[in-house]
């Protein structure tokens, strides 16, 4: 009996010790392939309670995009006089998706969405809220569903910088509070104040440059460290977001191949 326990426990520990966030995402992908429809049905019911807030956000976002579009239209009209506009040439492709499962109470939280590789979703696509805030990135896909690493995952990493500065640091979550992430390794001399906006950098493999992450809440400096640790209040609300936008960097594969070729 004791021997059987030791064997089973050792196998479990071995599996756990060799796992990563990606192993967990793969497990969730298998689980979603089997019972995804249950989560999908339950999330459909829950979604009705957020419709009002969601509509408000979307209306604001549409108005903002209409303004931007208007500005671009003038330029495009001029451009089209000479060239044919081809959207398939754009660097980033956007796909809307619904969140069917999203946890915030674990240390390794994941988001399940109702789009899979059958809908063109690929590993590494950025996941943003409808109003353009950083939310996570895709780590595993099945035919109809995809599992994304939430920013509220202690293994999540991205780079961030203040909007007015080129100095950047590393964004991570310490697992304590779902409203805050930490921006670390940012040089002390960087001009930064409470309330400043933090956005993604151009060095991210997953996220386009300038995606809003949050605002500076607190700056901690220690004498013996050349860098600051900044507490960032997240712009995305992980409790209520039930629609997301996936962003694919169409050049990601080319860049990765190129980087691999010089290693």
């Amino acid at each position: 009996m004791g021997a059987i326990f030791i064997i089973l426990e050792s196998l479990s520990i071995h599996f756990y010790a060799n796992s990563s966030a990606y192993t967990q995402a793969k497990l969730l992908t298998v689980s979603n392939a089997m019972v995804g429809w249950i989560n999908s049905t339950f999330s459909s019911v829950g979604r009705y309670f957020h419709l009002d807030t969601e509509n408000h956000l979307l209306v604001n976002r549409i108005a903002e995009l209409e303004n931007t579009l208007e500005a671009y239209r003038a330029v495009v009209d001029e451009y089209e006089l000479h060239h044919k506009l081809d959207t398939s040439e754009l660097k980033f492709r956007h796909t809307p998706a619904r969140v069917i499962n999203n946890t915030v109470s674990h240390q390794q939280n994941f988001i399940t969405i109702d789009r899979g590789f059958g809908d063109g979703v690929r590993d590494g696509m950025a996941v943003l809220t409808p109003d353009g805030c950083m939310f996570g990135y895709v780590v595993s896909c099945s035919e109809r569903y995809a599992v994304c690493m939430s920013m509220l995952n202690t293994e999540f990493r991205a780079s961030g910088r203040p909007t007015h500065s080129g100095e950047f640091g590393s964004i991570s979550w310490d697992g304590k509070d779902r409203r805050y992430v930490t921006l670390s390794e940012i040089p002390k001399y960087t001009p930064i104040q409470v309330g400043d906006t933090i956005v993604s950098t151009a060095y991210s493999f997953y996220f386009p440059e300038g995606v809003r992450i949050g605002t500076v809440e607190h700056i901690a400096n220690t004498d013996n460290s050349p860098s600051s640790t900044i507490r960032v209040k997240l712009s995305a609300d992980f409790m209520t977001t039930d629609k997301v936008v996936l962003v694919e960097n169409r050049d990601a594969e080319i860049i990765m191949d190129l980087e691999e070729s010089v290693k």
């Binding site: 059987i4 479990s12 599996f15 298998v30 019972v35 249950i38 304590k176 509070d177």
Partner: protein
């Protein structure tokens, strides 16, 4: 046969409650009750230890797949399943543990059941939250989670046990 069906239904209900209700209730990072422990906890006291261990393995693997936790639930459930006979002997007394029946509040007494459920859930929670965190850097955070969720889980298991083995339930029928 009847016993098997009852426990299969219990496992299904607990798995659905855990994955569709308690894993979805996002009150706080500190709130994460582990209701599924009731499956192994409520097995008849005279169940063969190897069967208890296999039940621990089953519920652990099932929960790992639904929660996406690679082995965390299995490691914790195997340990509690292995230690269950010892916990029963310590809390219920050797005679009661050998006599059999379901270790539920109406059958063994509320006080004894709370002691048994608390020790059982505490072991499960310590292993689960320590491994889930993957670090001991925030030991105080893990300790708060363990205490809070042990209390909530024990209360929930009491409710499940009251449904599963009510006062007039013929305990000996299961043995």
């Amino acid at each position: 046969m009847y016993q098997g069906i009852r426990y299969t239904l219990l496992l299904i209900v607990l798995a659905l409650l855990q994955s569709l209700v308690f894993n979805q209730v996002q009150i706080s990072v500190y709130f994460n009750p582990l209701i599924y422990v009731a499956f192994v906890m409520l097995l008849p006291m005279r169940t063969q230890p190897i069967i208890v261990l296999m039940c621990g393995l089953l519920v652990g693997v099932l929960m790992d797949v639904t929660m996406g936790l690679a082995g965390v639930n299995t490691i914790a459930s195997l340990l509690t399943a292995y230690l269950r006979p010892l916990m029963l002997r310590l809390v219920m007394g050797r005679d009661n543990a050998v006599e059999g029946g379901i270790p539920a509040p109406m059958q063994v007494g509320v006080g004894k059941f709370i002691s048994y459920a608390s020790v059982f859930t505490l072991v499960q929670s310590v292993v689960f939250f320590a491994l889930e965190a993957m670090t001991l850097r925030y030991a105080h955070l893990i300790a708060i989670k363990v205490v809070l969720n042990t209390a909530v889980t024990v209360a929930l298991v009491m409710a499940v046990a009251a449904f599963f083995a009510p006062k007039n339930y013929n305990n000996s029928f299961l043995d």
